[in-house]
């Protein structure tokens, strides 16, 4: 790709970017949010038109080679209600009438070559995130893609599954294909990729062999200045304040999503909850908020937490950064003003008795928006006009600037870059030094290990703690996440 420029209105998303990936390589593309990584890949894939620039594959203009490029976007294209075989071929069926024997034989062949095995007649809803990721890769192979673009492929995977993914990619690269991986995780770049391109602010900063760089250097290239060191060391934790005992929560399918889980959190602690997506983190949080019934006991500051209404829990200082921004955190048609008060509308500074305190609300909304540099035009604009990353900044700001006592944060840095993530964790730790406690669910174990005081693992609804001395040991916790202690 040479001289690619893309403009959205007055905003220049990409400016004269050159990009080159070689067959047989895993090429990493890194950069902050809004650096233009995904836009560049969309231009390559063909779902975004470039204002100028040229894209060639194997020396031919990209239009003639469109079929050779495949992309796995951040949001998987696997449809859970369909069967695995149906998902594999939808959109690229071999004929108008489907011949199951023939299709299955081809699917088996492709899967076996990769060392995967699938039950082709099983519904895809039964796939784990790693399984869905594998199916996505097979979809590209089914379409005979030579260039494979993967956008944040390991965002939802456990360390072991990530390793396996890169092993697969390596195998594909050895066959002469090109794999391009867009990622936030520098460690993966260093461990698995041959070359790396860094974008910053829509421009290419560097393309270099991974062997010639290191973590600090890459971080500097990405954010343009040195990464700030993690704030203070672990503070002396106070007395136990949050006690979860034998908590059991039933999931949507009637299974024990949280199964007899116990956890003690001391005053001032930031506890990371590591685990593969779907290990019960969601249901644990819903039980803490009170939107899902639970058995067992939760005591916070001596109060029987499960007997409180959700409103009382919020009034007692529960602050939430939920998993699903759109569904659980904001009302997209409402303004930033209104969203600032969402859930906290009963109490000051948002209310005066039974009345809305519009001035207090406006002031607090400004504080929330500025806390993590939400980019917005006016506080009166609807939430949906903000980009995903900016919505996340706002939601995190709301949770962390309104006197939290118990912070429950689900992937609080989802979709944010290094700088934004660091600021959010700083704020969480700051509140905890003031006496709050925080539970942080994350899918990136490395991030949790760096940012939290202690990391526990969740697997199949149970909470496991690493034995003394290994509370921050990557391998020990990684094993607990997949249930091998």
């Amino acid at each position: 790709m040479t001289g690619v420029t893309v403009r959205f209105g007055s905003l220049t998303a990409l400016e004269n970017v050159d990009f080159e990936a070689r067959p047989g390589h895993i090429h990493a593309l890194v950069g902050e949010n809004g650096a233009g990584k995904t836009t560049l890949m969309r231009v390559l894939f063909g779902s975004q038109r470039a204002d100028s620039g040229e894209v060639t594959v194997d020396g031919a203009h990209v239009k003639s080679r469109r079929a050779a490029i495949g992309m796995v976007s951040q949001h998987y294209s696997v449809i859970p209600q369909l069967k695995n075989l149906q998902n594999l071929m939808v959109g690229a069926e071999p004929g108008a009438v489907l011949d199951r024997k023939r299709d299955r034989a081809r699917a088996e062949g492709i899967a076996r070559a990769m060392g995967f095995s699938f039950d082709w007649d099983a519904p895809s809803s039964s796939l784990s995130p790693a399984g869905a990721q594998k199916l996505e890769i097979l979809k590209l192979l089914w379409r005979e893609s030579q260039v494979m673009i993967l956008d944040e492929p390991t965002a939802m995977l456990s360390p072991a599954d990530s390793e396996e993914l890169y092993t697969s990619l390596k195998r594909l690269a050895e066959e002469g294909r090109t794999a391009i991986v867009v990622t936030h995780r520098i460690r993966e770049v260093l461990d698995h990729c041959e070359r790396v391109t860094v974008l910053r602010g829509g421009k290419r900063v560097a393309t270099l062999p991974v062997a010639e760089t290191d973590e600090a250097n890459l971080a500097r290239l990405i954010i343009g200045h040195d990464l700030r060191e993690r704030g203070s060391a672990t503070a002396e934790p106070g007395p136990p304040i949050l006690m979860i005992e034998r908590l059991t929560v039933l999931g949507d399918r009637g299974h024990r999503a949280v199964d007899d889980a116990s956890l003690v959190v001391r005053k001032g602690e930031v506890v990371g909850i590591a685990g593969v997506d779907g290990s019960g983190q969601r249901e644990l949080f819903q039980a803490l908020i009170g939107t899902r019934s639970a058995t067992g006991s939760v005591r916070f500051g001596g109060i029987d937490w499960l007997n409180l209404t959700t409103a009382k829990r919020l009034a007692s200082g529960l602050r939430l950064v939920p998993e699903d921004r759109h569904a659980e955190a904001v009302i997209e048609d409402w303004s930033l003003f209104e969203n600032a008060a969402l859930g906290l509308h009963r109490d000051p500074p948002f209310a005066h008795g039974h009345w809305i305190d519009t001035q207090g609300r406006a002031r607090q909304a400004g504080v929330i928006a500025d806390a993590f540099k939400t980019r917005y035009g006016s506080l009166a604009q609807p939430m949906k006009s903000l980009s995903g990353g900016n919505q996340q900044r706002f939601v995190a700001g709301r949770g962390l600037t309104t006197q939290p006592k118990l912070i429950a944060a689900f992937q609080p840095t989802r979709g944010l870059d290094i700088d934004g993530s660091a600021k959010i964790y700083q704020a969480i730790r700051h509140e905890c030094r003031q006496g709050a406690v925080a539970l942080v669910v994350g899918f990136d174990l490395d991030e949790l290990l760096v940012e939290c005081d202690r990391v526990v693992a969740m697997c199949q609804g149970r909470i496991f703690e690493a034995p003394g001395g290994l509370e921050r040991d990557r391998d020990a916790i990684g094993r607990l996440m997949v249930g091998v202690g």
Binding site: Q81, L82, V90, A96
Partner: protein, 281 residues
């Protein structure tokens, strides 16, 4: 008695089935369709009117199908191009159809009333309805078009990612809806031998209920339609009969199919899984 009941069950089931299958293709593509009633009605009117005017059953049927297809495409245009809420568009189509056919049947004269015997025999429709069930069941399971229909209905965005042309799938689905509802409406007027105002009598809604009970799948939808058809036939038989020695008002028997619909929906609704992308752009 039993033979009469059976024959009238088939007679009453067939139009329900055609309409429900029409709803199936539409809703499987993610387009909610409460406008089945309206499509049945315009098809019934056009088949009766053109059939009588031209004295040609084929022209009558074609006119019915064309008008139902036109209504179906109007729904597609409103919901996909202009992004109008699917329920609102469906309601609009029903209102337009009720008013339009009422106006047309008076304004253009009651020619359809005066002539009988310009229709195809009803068994032709029965065969078509049965064939449609089988064809749809096979298509959903074994063809590219069927697979794409399922995919689009569950998740239009992900289908686009996989290279499916969502608009094309929906266009074909809604064409099929128009065709099937056109046949259903034509059958209703054929059964009655002439058009009367509002003659579909809510059968489009009962078909929708059958579709939901059938879990948006062809064969279970056939079963649900048959149950409704049977209850409708039963109420005709029970008209004028007594219950525990007391005369039962005919309206009460007449309400039976609707009551069964209500009870069935309340009882089964939670268990039926709709296409996940229903109503999504």
């Amino acid at each position: 008695m039993v033979e009469v009941l059976f024959a009238s069950t088939v007679t009453l089931t067939a139009p329900l089935l055609l309409a429900a299958l029409g709803g199936l293709t539409s809703e499987r593509s993610g387009v909610m369709n409460i406008g089945l009633e309206g499509k049945l009605l315009v098809a019934a009117w056009a088949t009766g009117f053109v059939g009588a005017a031209s004295q040609n059953p084929l022209l009558g049927l074609l006119a019915g199908i064309c008008l139902a297809v036109a209504m179906s495409l109007l729904h597609l245009l409103l919901t996909q191009t202009f992004r109008i809420d699917h329920i609102v568009s469906g309601m609009g189509i029903n209102a337009l159809s009720i008013g339009g056919t009422s106006f047309a049947s008076k304004g253009l004269g009651d020619r359809s009333q005066s002539v009988a015997g310009v229709f195809f025999p009803v068994w032709m429709y029965w065969i078509l309805a049965a064939a449609a069930v089988l064809a749809l069941a096979l298509a959903l399971d074994r063809t590219r078009g069927g697979l794409r229909l399922l995919a689009v209905g569950h998740d239009p965005d992900k289908s686009r990612q996989s290279g499916v042309d969502v608009g094309a799938v929906r266009l074909r689905a809604l064409l099929a809806t128009g065709l099937l509802c056109g046949l259903g409406g034509a059958l209703i007027v054929t059964n009655a031998t002439s058009f009367t105002d509002g003659m579909t009598g809510g059968r489009g809604y009962i078909a929708l209920a059958a579709l939901i009970l059938g879990g948006w799948r062809p064969l279970p939808t056939l079963v649900a339609c048959s149950v409704f058809g049977f209850v409708m036939a039963l109420q005709l038989q029970l008209q004028g009969s007594e219950l525990a020695g007391a005369a039962v008002p005919s309206q009460l028997w007449g309400a039976l199919p609707y009551l069964v619909t209500l009870v069935a929906l309340v009882g089964f609704l939670g268990k039926s899984q709709p296409p996940a992308g229903l109503g999504r752009p």
